[in-house]
Assembly symmetry: C2
Homo-oligomer: 321 residues x 2
């Protein structure tokens, strides 16, 4: 293990390998992570964090790649963090999708990294903010967080961004599927990709209808725009970038940026605290005290106690430790 302070220093100077190693520390839930995060603290808060989410097949990777192209044209340094909660593997697991990112592979001002959650204790809300902090300290002006999959946790991770882009593609019932997955509640910008296909306008209409349903916005609130794109040909990407700028301005103007970042930090702190508590519970498993998890579990299986009473005793043992 290299000296963490040295790694952080190299990452700050834009050393891609140091950035990769620091993100691996997050992925592996390394014990030295704590030191790394403390060392990174003074260098954060500069990157704009953009979440990109949507169902499989809507063109997330293509759209992310097109956004990278757009930001690079402005001279920005860009990070891409692809989060895959369903894969126990890192890096290679997403290689198929990442092929579309190849055009940026040699660009020294683009960091691309996929991160598996490996089912570790704290989940995505534990790992994502920490990986973001690494990319932020490495001087990224923008970090795109692409979530693969449509589970609740992915939606939640996308919602931890400063700005969340929700992608859809034309197809019957897509907007309804999106509503079911809960993603119509988290979008700041909606993109109907593959807009050259039949049904794109219908999808836009359907989406607008669903977004208007039950809308309770006050004057000055952000109204999520709907943008049509053909990301594979770069069409409409300028409109997406404009919408991202507009949302950023709105965040700055209204104090929304600070609110969102505080929310992200709260999720991160809570996830770290829960992981720590869960580790303590695991330690209690083998403890000889009467509140050991093994003993409590056996009592529940035997019908001698109920799981709530057992949980009370577990928490008791934890908090009096």
């Amino acid at each position: 293990m290299a000296d963490v302070g040295h790694l952080v220093e190299r990452a700050r100077q834009g050393d891609a390998r140091a950035v990769a190693r620091l993100i691996s520390l997050v992925e592996d839930a390394s014990p030295s992570l704590r030191e790394a995060m403390a060392a990174l603290m003074p260098y954060g808060g500069k990157a704009a964090v953009v979440g990109v989410t949507g169902a499989p097949g809507v063109g997330k990777s293509t759209s992310t790649s097109a956004l990278v192209t757009g930001y690079r044209a402005r001279g920005a340094r860009v990070g891409v963090l692809a989060v895959d909660p369903s894969s126990p593997f890192s890096g290679g697991a997403l290689l198929g999708d990442r092929v579309r990112m190849q055009e940026h592979a040699l660009d020294r001002n683009v960091y691309i990294r996929s991160m598996a959650s490996r089912g570790h204790l704290g989940g995505l809300s534990w790992s994502t903010p920490q990986a973001l902090r690494v990319l932020d300290a490495a001087g990224c002006d923008v970090v795109l967080v692409e979530t693969v999959g449509v589970g609740q946790s992915e939606v939640e991770v996308a919602a931890l961004a400063d700005t969340t882009v929700v992608l859809l593609a034309p197809g019957m019932g897509d907007a309804i599927q999106a509503a079911k997955a809960g993603i119509l509640e988290v979008g700041d910008i909606y993109v109907v990709n593959k807009a050259d296909r039949d049904g794109a306008d219908a999808t836009v209409r359907e989406l607008r209808h669903m977004l208007t349903l039950g809308e309770r916005r006050a004057p000055g609130d952000w109204r999520p725009p709907i943008v049509k794109t053909v990301a594979a040909r770069g069409e409409g990407m300028q409109d997406v970038l404009d919408a991202l700028d507009a949302h950023r301005n709105w965040l700055d103007r209204t104090g929304g940026l600070n609110r969102r970042r505080t929310r992200r930090a709260a999720a991160e702190i809570e996830a770290i605290a829960l992981a720590a508590l869960r580790t303590r519970m695991g330690d209690l498993r083998s403890s000889r005290s009467s509140a050991g998890l093994d003993e409590l579990s056996a009592a529940v299986v035997a019908g001698k106690t109920d799981p709530y009473a057992a949980a009370d005793r577990l928490v008791e043992g934890l908090t009096s430790g």
Copy 2:
């Protein structure tokens, strides 16, 4: 809210509406759940719990329905719990899939219930064991837990069953996809469904190869069989039932059943304890103490503290409360 004791009594007598209401209490994380679980405790432990998992499109619902038919032919009372972590809706959300279950809809000895996780605090390992307890107390001889999706959490839920059935279908790379999703580690029985399609034998070979890789079994250990089925025509279902019986016998003979149920109870207790701790953290959010989550989050955003130090203080506030 009806009297919980009365609900439990009616559920025990096989009243389907009482069963449904009790599972709704789980889904809604109702405050009266604690009382309900305590009241259910004396009536548990009888049902065999069978997890059914696999990627979308392998025929989970059709296979589950065919298993219900098989168990009903033996006169068993059967519960089906379909767990959908990606949907914020209950019941209706899975109606599409559940169409295949219609043939059992009028059978008074079959309870079919889909359950959304709604992203509530404890997640699937919180809600699934509690819903199982309801179906168990209602006199089900077998409960089939079908998980929709292939995320890590669904795999974990399937693995909490007494016996876990992993479904695959012929198709290039399916076994490899399954390996990636981590489901090759949790299966007690593997079923290659749609075995009338091209490539079924290749999938069986590939699967057998992957299961053998890195196998470290002691004599007397369970060797997961691979069964071919065409669930839509009921073909091979008797073989699956035989394999389920064989695994059950093995569990009984080796003490494995108790080990698995203790593991399930441990997951449940831990999930309830974590949810309780998380609620306490939420309460600390607005507390005036210096360890309030809002204040800690603001300090992290301002770079005044790191998230680990903030989490320490949060846990401190929690455990000294």
